[in-house]
């Protein structure tokens, strides 16, 4: 029963959804503070390559995650400097970050320069729970045969929900995203809030990237994430900027990303390109669905998303 195709697909939906979940939560934090960061793909790739480098050097998975988070955060810092301090166009700056860090940029440069290609990861994230739990019918493989990354991502969801809903800084960041002028008048430092949330968002994207290089496909190849960063950005829109819905959406898209591999393993002979295009096509369809429904009622997008805040010009 645990080998039935549905269970396998659902279990790998959780596996493939986890990097999307981390990255989308990070993007959600940045967007809630009013900073749109389209560089998620680049931040994920740099996180993936640096996390992989760290595990090859130190054989420590914990250290690898820290390095991945720092790398992702550092990339986000460039974006924050450009859009918060220099008031640059957020869309173009995010694209610049994707080009700078992305599949043909810094991540490839580092992978090449540190000689990371063509070697298996020294250590990878394994499932941690006892075998008796993992062998439970249906929920065993889906929920209990997972690595610490998956359980860690659930903790992050809860932390983000509580942070935004139940804490003072959480309330402040929502104010900054909705109306920076009002927040400024309340004595909230808009610049600091935007910097911090953009950088933390980048760190989460870096960890999301490391999910690929340390768990899903434990190796380094250029462009490892193949568009996951962009799906994560779409996911935030799809989830109406709510962390709980991001969790559901991530597994939904995770299922489509996993489908080509699981179906191939089960001997289904459809053209692989057709299946591989599913996550991209589904992303477009999901956005269409949300935008047609959302045109009627307000979507939940932070009102100041994408706009620079200039005190003198409010």
């Amino acid at each position: 029963m645990n080998n039935s195709i549905l269970v396998v697909v659902l279990a790998s939906a959780v596996l493939y959804g986890t990097p999307l979940l981390f990255a989308a939560l990070g993007e959600l934090l940045a967007e809630r503070s009013g900073v749109l960061n389209l560089g998620v793909e680049g931040m994920m790739l740099v996180g993936a390559v640096m996390g992989f480098w760290a595990v090859q050097r130190t054989s420590s998975l914990a250290l690898a995650l820290v390095v991945a988070a720092i790398a992702g955060g550092a990339m986000a810092l460039i974006h924050a400097f450009l859009v918060v301090t220099l008031r640059a166009n957020q869309i173009v700056s995010g694209l610049a970050l994707t080009i700078f860090a992305g599949a043909a940029g810094l991540s490839s440069y580092l992978g090449n320069d540190l000689n990371l290609a063509d070697q298996p990861a020294k250590r990878i994230f394994h499932s941690v729970l006892p075998k008796s739990l993992r062998d439970l019918p249906v929920i065993g493989p889906i929920l209990f045969n997972q690595s610490l990354l998956v359980y860690g991502s659930w903790v992050v969801v809860i932390v983000v929900v509580l942070y935004l809903r139940r804490t003072r800084p959480g309330l402040n960041v929502r104010a900054v995203g909705e109306s920076p002028a009002a927040a400024d008048a309340m004595g909230i430092n808009v610049t600091v809030y935007r910097y911090v949330h953009t950088v933390v968002g980048g760190a989460l994207a870096g960890i999301g990237g490391a999910c690929f290089s340390l768990s899903i496909t434990p190796q380094w190849v250029d462009g490892l994430t193949s568009g996951a960063g962009w799906i994560a950005i779409a996911l935030v829109i799809f989830a109406f900027w709510r962390p709980g819905l991001v969790l559901i959406g991530a597994y939904f898209f995770g299922a489509f990303s996993a489908l080509p591999y699981t179906l191939q393993a089960h001997g289904v002979t459809i053209a692989p390109e057709l299946l591989q295009s599913l996550p991209y096509v589904m992303t477009v369809l999901a956005l269409v669905l949300v935008s047609s429904a959302g045109a009627k009622r307000r979507l939940g997008a932070p009102a100041a998303l994408g706009l620079p805040y200039v005190r003198e010009e409010r």
Binding site: L38, I78, L82, L86, R87, A88, N89, I91, V92, S93, L95, A96, L97, T98, I99, F100, A101, G102, A103, A104, G105, L106, S107, S108, Y109, L110, G111, N112, D113, D222, S226, G227, W230, I233, A234, I237, A271, P272, E273, L274, Q276, S277, Y280, V281, T283, V284, L287, V288, S291, S292, A295, E312, E313
Partner: protein, 370 residues
């Protein structure tokens, strides 16, 4: 104390100073990246400039690399000017290449001029129609065109792979036993080989001249016609445009189609000028679409500047291919492109704002208002 003030007028010399300053700054930052990873920046740059612009052979190769970049740069410039962020130039170029290859294979027995014209038209149609998908969604459903156009890039790449590697399509060569093991596209007929000219030893392919012609046409369209004026107004202030009775939806569709068509012609030029078959790997290895965005931003959306900067960045890309190896890591070209775009964005601040260095004490203290 540094103060940032909004400029009331934008002096003309900034149009030159900002791109030049951005390039200088970007080279400086790239040098930092090189030093940080243990490379000698001066040596690397010297080799890069030699490989890109060092002689007639190198310059000819640079024009080859610059040709698709001029098309994708124009593609981005057309759409970005209206604040319509079409980043699907990559996919639209693929679709143009597919359509143009089909036209060439279908019409193989006709005279060359007709075949070439058909390839250009087919390429424009392929790219334009593909760009209309995100355009239509944006115009009628307000769907974010950035993500949809980007997702369609991945889909177009998969279509390209499917046509050559995983099907018995019309584009695939299935005549020989070897072609069945190592899949590749059908050779295009001789009548589909675009001519090229030599000027003082510098090779100029038809595609590059076409890009220059397109740049002139687009410049005319955007600065001398009502259409171009309306596009600018919609880009600067969609509300004002609506109050003035401009048809925003139609403009979105027209601009997206135009933008995609330009990239599509770039795909046709890839078939006709350089590859002479539908070549999925070759088309995908250079990420022309992203580079086009860098070029458009650095050119500040001016079509003529796009061609000029495409030539410069084409040189960098050409050098990247030539030099790729141990002391010239593969991602360096992307790193430099990203840094150029960052620098352009940072310097853009100087266009919109003036930076004043003034000590607080010396500033005249305003009289108390009350």
């Amino acid at each position: 104390m540094i103060r940032i003030e909004r400029r009331l007028e934008q002096p003309g010399w900034l149009n030159v100073a900002v791109p030049v300053g951005s390039l200088v700054l970007a080279f400086g930052l790239s040098a930092l990246v090189l030093v940080a990873t243990g490379h000698d920046p001066l040596q690397t740059f010297r080799r890069l400039i030699h490989a890109a612009f060092g002689g007639q052979a190198q310059l000819t190769e640079t024009v080859v690399s610059a040709t698709p970049l001029a098309f994708t740069g124009l593609c981005a410039a057309v759409a970005f000017r209206m604040q319509l962020f079409n980043i699907g130039g990559e996919g639209q170029l693929y679709m143009g290449a597919i359509a143009a290859a089909a036209a060439a294979l279908l019409l193989h027995s006709l005279p060359m001029a007709i075949v070439i014209a058909a390839m250009v038209l087919a390429g424009a149609a392929g790219g334009g129609l593909y760009a209309l998908v995100p355009g239509f969604l944006r115009a009628f459903l307000k769907t974010n065109e950035i993500i949809t156009s980007l997702m369609l890039n991945y889909a177009a790449a998969l279509i390209l792979n499917y046509l050559i590697f995983d099907s018995q399509s019309y584009w695939r060569d299935t005549t020989t036993a070897e072609a069945k093991v190592f899949p590749q596209g059908k050779m295009l007929p001789d009548s589909a080989a675009w001519p090229s000219w030599t000027l003082h030893g510098l090779g100029l392919p038809l595609g590059f001249l076409l890009a220059i012609g397109l740049a002139a046409t687009l410049w005319f369209l955007f600065s001398r016609t009502r259409f171009g004026f309306e596009v600018k107004v919609i880009g600067d202030s969609p509300r004002a445009a609506t109050y003035a009775g401009m048809r925003t939806r139609r403009k979105i569709l027209a601009v997206m189609a135009l933008s995609g068509a330009v990239a599509g012609v770039g795909g046709a030029s890839q078939d006709g000028d350089f590859r002479h078959l539908l070549d999925p790997r070759g088309l995908q290895q250079a990420s022309y679409g992203y580079a086009g965005i860098v070029i458009a931003a650095l050119a500040r959306y001016n079509p003529f500047a796009v061609v000029l900067i495409a030539f410069l960045l084409g040189g960098v890309q050409n050098a990247g291919f030539t030099l790729q190896g141990a002391d010239f890591p593969s991602g360096l070209v992307g790193v430099m492109q990203g840094l150029i775009l960052f620098s352009a964005l940072g310097c853009e601040l100087l266009v919109r704002y003036r930076i004043r260095l003034a000590s607080r004490a010396r500033r005249p203290v305003p009289e108390a208002a009350t």
